[in-house]
């Protein structure tokens, strides 16, 4: 009996909660303050407080004055930019196919994106070692076809890293674009056609502009994730492909210089934050966070 009473009580409690969205939001904000903002503040104090608790900019000066770190930042952002571009070029047509295909083809196409997405990044990166190696599947095939005499070096350089990163991050481009294209009113491009536009013109002037928010959202997601990439560049890259995440790992784990590691991390967070803000201004922040309006 008491269980029933409890159940009733909890039900009314749920109703009471629902009636107070502000309380719920406060709960969520409190949670974030605890598990996100607090650690970030700790990082801040590591980065900017020297011995004896004196505030200092020594770590930031170290970061800015040492050319190594700016080289690595540039490498990281260049890699992320190329990945984003390639993901857009491959991802958009793929998403378009997904949105326009029949149900059976769509299931197949969606599975082709989603199944690798659920596989470990480590396993997928290692699979590329097998495929792209000098005695790997690709080189064997190219040599046996007589297309090349010597195996091509596709691994442990920029090419390997880019292939691996695009493979891992492609779903983050395909999914937002697909969601926009699938919700697009098919009547609009049809109206354009009926008014005399060629299919290409209808696409360029109607479908593409309407789907741009999805592209911006996808590009922002891909770029932000690519900037923090670690495993794939470490496994598939060469000495020219050291990313900022690899460097943070060295500083934190090997050098045990946590204040400096915190400084690099916060700089990365600040830059990524700025990119997010830019993307949000263009696309509307909710869309990137997955909270877009329906209407």
């Amino acid at each position: 009996m008491s269980e029933v009473a409890l159940l009733l009580q909890s039900r009314s409690a749920v109703r009471a909660w629902r009636a107070r969205p502000r309380v719920m939001i406060a709960g969520v904000l409190g949670f974030y303050a605890l598990v996100y903002c607090l650690p970030m503040l700790v990082l801040l104090s590591w980065a900017f407080r020297g011995g004896g608790g004196v505030w200092t900019l020594a770590n930031l000066t170290h970061l800015l004055s040492d050319e190594t770190y700016s080289v690595v930042f540039v490498t990281t952002f260049r890699m992320a930019a190329v990945t984003t571009m390639v993901c857009t070029i491959i991802g958009y047509p793929y998403a378009y196919l997904l949105a326009t295909a029949g149900p059976k083809a769509r299931t197949l196409l969606a599975a082709a994106v989603m199944i690798p997405f659920w596989t470990s990044v480590l396993a997928r990166s290692l699979a590329w070692v097998i495929l792209l190696g000098r005695r790997g599947v690709m080189n064997d095939w190219l040599v046996s076809m007589g297309l090349i005499d010597q195996p091509i070096q596709m691994l442990f350089n920029g090419i390997g890293v880019q292939i691996g990163m695009v493979h891992v991050l492609l779903p983050f481009m395909v999914l937002p674009v697909w969601s926009i294209l699938a919700r697009l009113d098919v009547g609009l491009p049809m109206a354009a056609r009926s008014l005399g536009a060629t299919p290409l013109k209808a696409f360029l002037h109607v479908t593409l502009p309407l789907s741009m928010p999805g592209v911006t959202a996808g590009a922002t997601l891909v770029f932000m994730l690519a900037v923090g990439f670690y495993i794939t560049p470490a496994l598939l890259g060469g000495p020219g492909d050291i990313t900022i995440a690899t460097l943070i790992d060295t500083v934190i784990r090997d050098l045990l210089d946590w204040p400096f590691g915190a400084t690099i991390s916060l700089t990365l967070v600040a830059i990524v934050g700025a990119i997010f803000a830019l993307g949000a201004t263009i696309a509307g922040g909710g869309r990137i966070a997955g909270l877009e309006n329906h209407g």
Partner: protein, 366 residues
Amino acid sequence: MTTKRQFSRRSVLLGVAGAAIASPFVRVKPARADKGEIVVATWGGTRTTAMRKVMFDPFERETGIRVRADGPPEAAKVKAMVDTGNVTWDMLDTDIPAILSMVNAKLLEPIDYSKIDQNKLDRIPKVLHHPYGLGHLIYGFNIVYNTKSFAPGKQPKMWAEVWDKNIKGARSFPFSGGLSPQLEFALIADGVSPDKVYPLDVERAWKSMDRLRPLVTKWYANHAEAIQLLSTGEIDVCCTIGSRGIAAKSSGAPVEVEYNQGKLAPDNWAIIKGSKNLDAVYQYINFVIDGKLQAELAKLIPYGPSSQDAFKYLSPEEAKDLSTAPDNLAKQFWNDTAWWGAVAADSRTNTQIQAERYAKWMVQHG
């Protein structure tokens, strides 16, 4: 065509991605070291399984003190424990570079050698009696090669040949993941005799590294990766831990180890600052540095026992592939922990300074 499904599917995906990103920071309830129990942080896998069989279980049976294995024994984890006052480990099984960083960060308890069984200690070479770590498993950094890549006898047999661009073959060397630059080998390749390599002539070593650089196909981040690339023939010769090469060889991979000019280094027993079970810890150390017990461990994992007593209990066949077997010992030299641990500029050790220089060297040539 508006569907709620797609919206929610993507939020779920983002949630999953978020959880995946956050998971390294989620703490599982730590193993708590109470009275009558010690927690030993070691490397997991076959190593922990072998230690459980040969060390932990017999120790538990003899003393009644339980041994719990945890890990991996990373310096950053120890720092987090000591800094937050939440020390849940008593002992570490780790290498000298990690110990030196931890000593510099004041995370370790010095070993009180008066509490160590002198008879057993005498059988362990003096070079392994570090103030903060007692060597127990010995490995060497060696020339490890794929036997299919070279005609018999044509493989590199000394570092000068690894550095020689006329000898064809994809090389691989360690970078990052706690691995110091191999400056000793750079000097030996440049003509310095292995017994005169310390104190390291750092500038000369880096010039020699510049010559090695174009020959290296892959700078690997961990030893398992190196052995994997070597076994599949993706690289032909690498500088990695000989014991790992032996393990690959015994599982059928076309891999062989050249002991000549190898650099020997120990994994050590070290005590974490703030351990509340020091009596049990010393009982444990005295139990596990026994030669006979080390011989049993060497039969399970191919690392060299530190106690020379161990070789009384091993057949020549069993000893042949161990880094501390008398024949192999004679071909190799000991890593100078005093040099690597020496505090040089702005309270940083040579290990830290060279590790940072390594990262810069790697980036700025890229």
